[in-house]
């Protein structure tokens, strides 16, 4: 009894300390810490090259390089959350040369950006730059969440693209199952223009509200769980990093949002094969490169029903699906990611990559 009282007193003291830290915003965990260089930029878009130092990660042992295309509505540091809990770090340790195409924070200059800007301009330019820097002839392309949709459109619209493989994570194709976020446009008939802000883009607050509406009680549960475990420093650090990211969105370029609502949501174009990019019809069946789709069975942002049809839509003879018992973020951060998702992805890509000179002996050693 006395021990329990003592433990409660200690925990309450820790709760008070961590509560003050949270409210004051001090001691925030550093995110996106893996060393990288900006190797190309255009507008707000930057191409990052992560340094695979021989001493830290063992150097580049496999080619061709990996290019990650990130989503348009959130920040890319989720893939490089904290040291030791970083998708990018694991890829580097596995011996890959990793690049990431980050869209930055769109402003009024991006309000007219259409999907074709990303699919036909930025991604091809990013790939060219990667090829130029690495000396490779191909890249392994990765798409995360809506970035996966961009890579699918790119691969389908550019059948001659220099791709060794395409991997998409938590990428929705059947937008009928995207919940209230899509229903307000598809069923309610809401006009995207009614949510466009002064800068011509969909404000991040609208995007956050949309995601919160998917699980209406999650917000309350989140605070209750935080209170319960506020004494635990490790939990608080993880809470700060994860919720910091889930509340930290970027504006969705207005024209791309209109196109998404019309083509992907109302027409459900990926499933009904009614896709166009820059006026050209595009078919996912034209994707022929080795393909992997990773989906999370407990994903409340991109429900499994929204991702499930993808494997049948892609025309690749060498295609694979990896359903995992994880949430949306759990695919790339946390224990499931470290133990299952990332090693499986690494294995898939490694099988479709070439060991570079000396890598075989390094592996054996």
């Amino acid at each position: 009894m006395l021990d329990r009282v003592r433990r409660d007193v200690e925990r309450n003291a820790l709760r008070a300390r961590n509560g003050v830290k949270l409210v004051a915003g001090v001691d925030r965990p550093g995110v996106g810490q893996t060393p990288k260089d900006v190797v190309w930029q255009r507008g707000r878009t930057q191409l990052w090259h992560y340094r695979n130092d021989l001493d830290t990660y063992g150097g580049v042992r496999y080619g061709p390089p990996l290019l990650i295309v990130f989503s348009l509505v959130s920040r890319s540091y989720i893939l490089d959350l904290t040291p030791g809990n970083s998708f990018v770090e694991q890829l580097l340790k596995a011996g890959f040369d990793v690049y990431l195409l980050d869209w930055g924070e769109p402003d009024e200059r991006d309000a007219e950006n259409r999907l074709e800007d990303y699919v036909d301009d930025y991604i091809p330019a990013g790939i060219d730059r990667v090829l130029e820097l690495s000396g490779a002839d191909e890249v392994n392309l990765f798409g995360y969440c809506f970035g996966g949709n961009l890579t699918l459109l790119y691969a389908a619209h550019h059948p001659d693209a220099p791709l060794r493989s395409l991997t998409v994570l938590a990428t929705p194709v059947d937008f009928r199952h995207m919940g209230p976020l899509a229903d307000v446009f598809a069923v309610g008939g809401m006009d995207v223009d009614s949510v466009i802000g002064d800068d011509g883009n969909v404000p991040p607050s609208i995007v956050v509200q949309g995601f919160r509406a998917l699980t209406p009680t999650a917000e309350v549960t989140r605070y209750v769980t935080l209170w319960e475990r506020l004494w635990n420093d490790e939990y608080v650090a993880s809470y700060q990093a994860m919720t910091g990211w889930s509340d930290d969105h970027v504006p969705f370029p207005g024209a791309a949002a209109r196109e998404t609502a019309e083509m992907l949501v109302r027409r459900n174009g990926m499933v009904t094969d009614r896709l166009t990019v820059g006026g050209d019809p595009v078919h996912l069946g034209d994707i022929r490169v080795p393909f992997l789709t990773v989906r999370a069975n407990r994903d409340h942002i991109v429900p499994p029903d929204a991702t499930a049809p993808l494997i049948d839509l892609v025309g690749s003879p060498d295609k694979h699906e990896l359903p995992l018992d994880a949430g949306h973020m759990g695919l790339v951060v946390g224990r499931t990611a470290a133990k299952t998702t990332v090693p499986t992805i690494i294995d898939f890509v490694r099988r479709r990559s070439d060991p570079l000179d000396g890598a075989d002996s390094a592996q054996e050693a």
Partner: protein, 139 residues
């Protein structure tokens, strides 16, 4: 069931409420209601904006909507320039490739001159990349 009593009570309540709340937000009624509320807010906002614009125009001053229109036009122009620059960059690469240069180099533009030197994204000093030669792709 583990955890303190208050947590168990909360979890029980949450289990009872959550499915109903989720059903509600996934209902057609919710989508329609959200769309109607949004539309009403937009109409109201535009009416107020129209009135204030008229007031500013009366004294020969630009209104917020004029500035928004200008910003949109600048944005559109910026996009065109970006797209043209990328197209030009791609064309230069292709031309360099056709000319037989094994490693085409990008002609630096203002932005390239910043990026080509590999700026450290995290403020640290850039280090030379340690990369081994890649084997040709498998047939």
């Amino acid at each position: 069931m583990t955890g303190p009593l208050w947590r168990q009570a909360f979890d029980a309540a949450e289990r009872a409420v959550a499915p109903r709340a989720e059903d509600l937000v996934r209902s057609e009624y919710f989508s329609l209601a959200t769309a109607v509320v949004r539309r009403a807010r937009t109409v109201a906002g535009r009416s107020v904006q129209g009135l204030s614009a008229r007031a500013w125009h009366l004294v020969n001053l630009p209104a917020g909507s004029d500035i928004s229109r200008l910003r949109a036009q600048i944005g559109s122009l910026d996009r065109e320039v970006r797209r043209l620059t990328i197209a030009l960059e791609q064309e230069r690469r292709r031309a360099a490739g056709r000319a037989g240069s094994p490693r085409p180099t990008t002609t630096p533009t203002t932005e390239d001159s910043d990026a080509d030197g590999a700026q450290p994204a995290d403020g640290a000093r850039p280090r030379p990349a340690r990369r081994r030669a890649q084997r040709p792709a498998r047939p």
